[in-house]
């Protein structure tokens, strides 16, 4: 064991650790900049992504096979439930069509060409998930060539799941909303209650144990009830308005009793993601 702590080896170990900490600090410091990742890093990611596609393909195939079997088992109950919904949907669709046509006309009269709620959708496959408990990240199969931009919000079929943090040419990284680290960006959201009044705020955290998002420091007097819809507010400029986030679970006083804290049930299931949509403004 004397050999293990010989002078020369100790110096080497310390130098290696210092290099490691240095590299890590630099990459954390520059990763939020608009220009990152640099070209060489993008190239490496594209190569790794190409190899990953070959390995992820059979694994994902296996997953979709098991999914279709379980879908088949639930078909009857699902069909009955969906039939009821379809009748209501036809009505809602017609209303939505008329409203959106009217909206377009009114906007033309006001000479308001771009609104906060406009976006184009880019659909991508999920290639892989970072095998780490500290970074809830996905790698998706579309990149800059498909029009994905940094900081764009990402949705699954049912609701918001996160935002793009790194864009390469053919793939990009998505940070999930369940990331609680202090470096992750927060979404601007609003809650509309049954009377039509809105409350603005930001997603301030994620409660792992109960799988709920929290919106802290709410000082508004507007009454919010359980089940009220939560959507993105479009404030801040990165996110289009009106992306569905979830529903209100509970409203309670914060630790100091001055402001209230709203807990939100996310609409999307963050643990079952195969296809996602990137919303570009």
């Amino acid at each position: 064991m004397q050999k293990f702590f010989s002078n020369r080896k100790l110096v080497i170990v310390i130098i290696v650790l210092i290099i490691s900490v240095g590299l890590m600090s630099v990459s954390v410091a520059i990763r939020d900049k608009k220009s990152t990742p640099p070209l060489i890093q993008q190239f490496g990611n594209d190569v790794a992504g190409a190899v990953d596609r070959v390995i992820a393909l059979p694994v994902n195939g296996l997953q979709s096979a098991t999914n279709s079997v379980s879908d088949l088992l639930n078909t009857y109950q699902e069909n009955q439930k969906l039939k009821k919904q379809v009748d209501q949907l036809a009505q809602a669709k017609v209303t939505a069509q008329t409203t959106s046509a009217e909206n377009k006309q009114l906007r033309k009269q006001l000479k308001l060409n771009e609104s906060l709620s406009d976006y184009t959708a880019v659909t991508a496959n999920v290639l892989t998930r970072t095998p780490s408990s500290w970074m809830n990240q996905l790698v998706i199969s579309k990149g800059a060539t498909a029009g994905v931009k940094k900081n764009a919000p990402v949705m699954s079929q049912s609701g918001l799941i996160g935002r793009v943090v790194e864009v390469n040419q053919t793939n990009s990284k998505v940070e999930l909303i369940s990331n609680t680290s202090s470096t992750s960006d927060k979404f601007a959201i609003q809650i509309t209650n049954s009377a039509g009044k809105t409350v603005n705020g930001i997603v301030s955290g994620y409660d792992k144990s109960s799988n709920l998002l929290t919106m802290g420091s709410v000082t508004s007097n507007v009454k919010i009830k359980k089940g009220d819809k939560v959507v993105t507010s479009g404030l801040g400029g990165n996110t289009p308005k009106g992306l569905y986030v979830g529903t209100v679970a509970t409203v309670k006083q914060d630790d100091y009793g001055l402001a209230s804290e709203v807990e939100i049930t996310p609409a999307a299931d963050l643990s079952d993601l195969t296809v996602v949509t990137v919303a570009e403004q």
Partner: protein, 172 residues
């Protein structure tokens, strides 16, 4: 199988393990990351430890390959360099140091694997905490991450031990 074949198979298997880690994490995300517990797959670490301990000739340049695979891990999965890139060669170094003292059988290898899982997970936890990527207390880390991680990976280890030993026995 000839030893020269193993020299090609080892790095290929290492990178397959790397990408399988990510792909399986996504497919089984509901089971592996069911809150508050999160178990991290470590197929790469397992492949490296099998190579260090089961290969009698010590001629696979495992240190260099583990550096490369760690670099790709940081590059592709996290975007934060210098964590797995240093952590995996560190594990190889530790394993090489303790190998001469160990009588090799299933149980000792199992213990070595538990220790190395703990070292690697703790190493990444400390490093990510320093850069504010991870925000968790030590108690939460041990209960919610380290425990489930060791449990999951031990199960995989037990399944893969005999096939892997067969592979290396046929070479030596």
């Amino acid at each position: 199988m000839r030893y020269s074949r193993l020299k090609i198979l080892f790095p290929i298997g290492l990178f397959v393990a790397l990408f399988l880690d990510g792909a399986l994490s996504n497919v089984f995300a509901g089971k592996l990351f069911s809150y508050p517990y999160s178990s991290v797959l470590h197929l790469v670490l397992m492949w490296i430890i099998f190579a260090v301990f089961l290969d009698d000739r010590d001629d696979l340049s495992i240190g260099m390959w583990s550096f490369f695979v760690g670099l790709v891990f940081d590059w592709y999965y996290t975007g934060i360099f210098g964590v797995y890139m240093i952590g995996l060669p560190l594990i190889v170094y530790i394993c090489r140091q303790i190998k001469p003292w160990l009588d090799q059988n299933f149980l000792t290898l199992l213990m070595v694997y538990i220790i190395n899982l703990t070292i690697l997970e703790t190493f990444t936890f400390i490093w990510y905490s320093m850069s504010h990527v991870a925000s968790s207390t030590v108690a939460d880390f041990t209960v919610y991450t380290l425990g489930p991680t060791i449990a999951t990976n031990l199960a995989i280890f037990v399944i893969l031990y005999y096939p892997m030993r067969r592979l290396y026995l046929s070479v030596n």
